[in-house]
Amino acid sequence: MQLLANYLTLAALYALIACGYVLVYRVSRVLTLAHGEVMMVGAYLLLTMGTLFHLPPLPAFIAALLMSLVVGLAIYWMVMRRMAGETVFAAVLVTIALGILLRGAMALVWTPRLQYPAEAIAMENPSVALGGSVAVSQASLLIIASAVLVYGGLFLFFRHTTWGVRMRAVGENPRLAAQRGIAPHGPLALAWGIAALTGGLAGMLLSIDTGIDEAMAIIGLKTFPVVLVGGLDSLSGAIIGALVVAGAEILAIYYVDPLVADVAPFLVLLAILMVRPWGLFGTREELDRV
């Protein structure tokens, strides 16, 4: 049962990180390789809310989430908007450069040392007993709850709101959407904003559990197989991808060798790519366009 609790925590974390990749790709067709860094920015913003403004946990989270949203909007407005009309490959390269820039900026502003936002915002992270000998940290429960809320919210948003429908329209056929009067910049900026918000939330919750150091960005990048397994343009796929990859990782740790856990996500990815190169829930023509 303890293994199951750990599995759900890891799957929820991967799902929370993965939805940013999917949102950006689904709406803009850009594969962002700066998502790990954006996630880390979120964690540092939470830290700053504590160290600089001495905010308690809830206001600190709200403020850091809003700032993450602004970071995402700014990335689109200042960088990615200028890539309109360029090849997808060029846009991907820009995201790599953006990641390097963000890493350097974070080292200068916050230093590369291990830091603890939980301490800064005076938030406890106790162990929570779930019955029997099963226990997880409070942050782990928050990660699971956040993943459920974020995905539930996004499904409702895309199905039942004007902006959600606009984002879907721009993602499916930007030219047709423009002809129907939907200016692309708003939905595209919002996609980057929401991706930064959800990625930032994942970074914040992970940092409450284990602190922030320079390796956090790599955890963001490690989530990449989740997105490819599930399908680059599918939110449902991201959930399934997270469950499959986290399962493979946990089983490898427990029953094979902890070292295999590092490559397990990529073994799963390889297997899926051989059978369904567009992922379990991805759209075939989308992959052809990549």
């Binding site: 303890q2 293994l3 609790a5 750990n6 599995y7 925590t9 890891l10 974390l13 991967y14 890493r103 350097g104 080292a107 200068l108 230093t111 590369p112 040392r113 291990l114 603890y116 301490e119 162990s127 007993a129 000998s133 226990a135 997880v136 940290s137 782990s140 992970l206 284990t210 602190g211 150091d213 320079e214 390796a215 956090m216 790599i218 955890i219 490690k222 990782e249 946990i250 740790i253 427990y254 060798d257 902890p258 070292l259 856990a261 590092d262």
Partner: protein, 386 residues
């Protein structure tokens, strides 16, 4: 301070060709100011910078200033090689300091060997070539040392344990950490311990829980970890989260003092070679004052390791005299005693055969809830290095 270091690197790069060292000692550093491992190495470089700023203000060494040229290799081997070449050929550095991941060692050793310059490892893991019988040009001040550390940790467990020891191990999946934990696993039965689990944890890991479950389920009542700090502390916290009630001992890296105070757990021991700042020695006060005046980026508790590097450079340059050359400096370093003023349990002594230290000193600390403070569990313990 970190900004200052990075800016200094940029300015120095723009001064390529400018003659340094005509009237000063030039010390070159190629270290990870950013990139992988920067959290461990950047504080070391900052401490060295602060130390020599202070020395220069007081008139320098033997009446000559020390020009410190610090370049950011981001733990990238090809950058480290290019940095070293530049420091040796353009900046005329007398000595090079490495403070970055072990992947940078080989290219830097090749370059310094070619130029006949000493290479000092400071804050980064000591390579095998500094232990007896040592390479004439390679030196190390880093507090941790393979095998001696594990001997110390296992000896402490033997002394502290009141019950049969079922020991679990935790390492990071990097060669140096794995190798040391493999060594400790071999030694444990000789001490009467039963090894029950060994987790080699890949970097980076999002969730340490599954690794902790394995150690806990195996029945370990003691855990020993010798790995970068993140692996040690995250393993311990994951164990506690899952209700593990045993004790753990880990190497006290530069973060140890802050972390003992954060975690506040009586069952978490750290052992290391540097005296913690809570001891309040005069040398600690000196570092605190220097850090305050310099506007240090990193907590003062993380600066001792770099301070020892600077003390070693100071002692070596002082004994070399003026004018200095790489040959003279290397010869001096082959017979040098560095007074650490209490930062370590004794002096760092280098001989022709031993460029690690002739005696490895250790002290064990833990959090004491009753005293609401960090306490020393033992006086200094020394192991001869031969």
């Amino acid at each position: 301070m970190l900004k200052k270091l990075l800016l200094t690197g940029a300015v120095m790069a723009s001064m390529a060709g400018t003659a340094l060292g005509q009237d000063s000692y030039v010390v070159g550093i190629s270290g990870a100011l950013t990139g992988p491992g920067a959290g461990t190495y950047a504080p070391v470089i900052e401490a060295v910078r602060m130390y020599f700023d202070k020395v220069n203000k007081a008139g320098g060494i033997n009446g000559h200033k020390v020009d410190l040229v610090a370049l950011d290799n981001q733990s990238n081997p090809s950058k480290a090689a290019a940095d070293t070449k530049r420091l040796l050929l353009q900046d005329n550095a007398l000595i090079i300091v490495n403070s970055s991941l072990s992947s940078t060692y080989e290219p830097m050793i090749n370059e310094t060997n070619r130029a006949g310059a000493p290479l000092l490892f400071g804050g980064s893991v000591c390579p095998t070539q500094v232990f007896p019988k040592a390479d004439p040009l390679l030196f190390c001040t880093t507090s941790f040392g393979a095998h001696y550390d594990s001997n110390m940790a296992l000896a402490f467990i033997k002394q502290a344990a009141k019950e049969d020891v079922m020991i679990g191990f935790s390492a990071m999946a990097i060669p140096v950490s794995r190798g040391e934990i493999d060594y400790a696993e071999e030694q444990a039965p000789k001490m009467g311990f039963k090894p029950v689990a060994k987790e080699i944890i890949p970097p980076p890991t999002a969730n340490y829980g599954p690794h902790a479950v394995k150690i806990k389920d195996a029945g370990a009542n003691w855990v020993y970890s010798w790995a970068p700090w993140v692996t040690q502390i995250k393993t311990f916290e994951a164990l506690r989260t899952q209700g593990w009630g045993g004790k753990m001992i880990a190497f006290g890296h530069i973060n140890a003092e802050d972390e003992l105070a954060r975690v506040k757990d009586d069952g978490f021991y750290v052992f290391g070679a540097n005296a913690l700042f809570q001891e309040g020695l005069p040398i600690h006060k000196e570092i605190e004052e220097t850090a305050k005046a310099a506007g240090a980026t990193f907590p003062v508790t993380q600066l001792a390791e770099g301070w020892v590097v600077a003390m070693a450079l100071d002692a070596a340059l002082t004994k070399t005299g003026w004018p200095a050359s790489r040959e003279k400096l290397a010869a001096v370093m082959n017979d040098l005693e560095i007074d650490t003023k209490g930062l370590r349990g004794g002096p760092v002594k280098w001989t022709a055969d031993n460029h690690f230290r002739t005696d490895a000193f250790y002290r064990v600390y833990r959090w004491d809830s009753a005293k609401n403070a960090i306490v020393s569990e033992s006086d200094w313990v020394s192991f001869p290095v031969n």
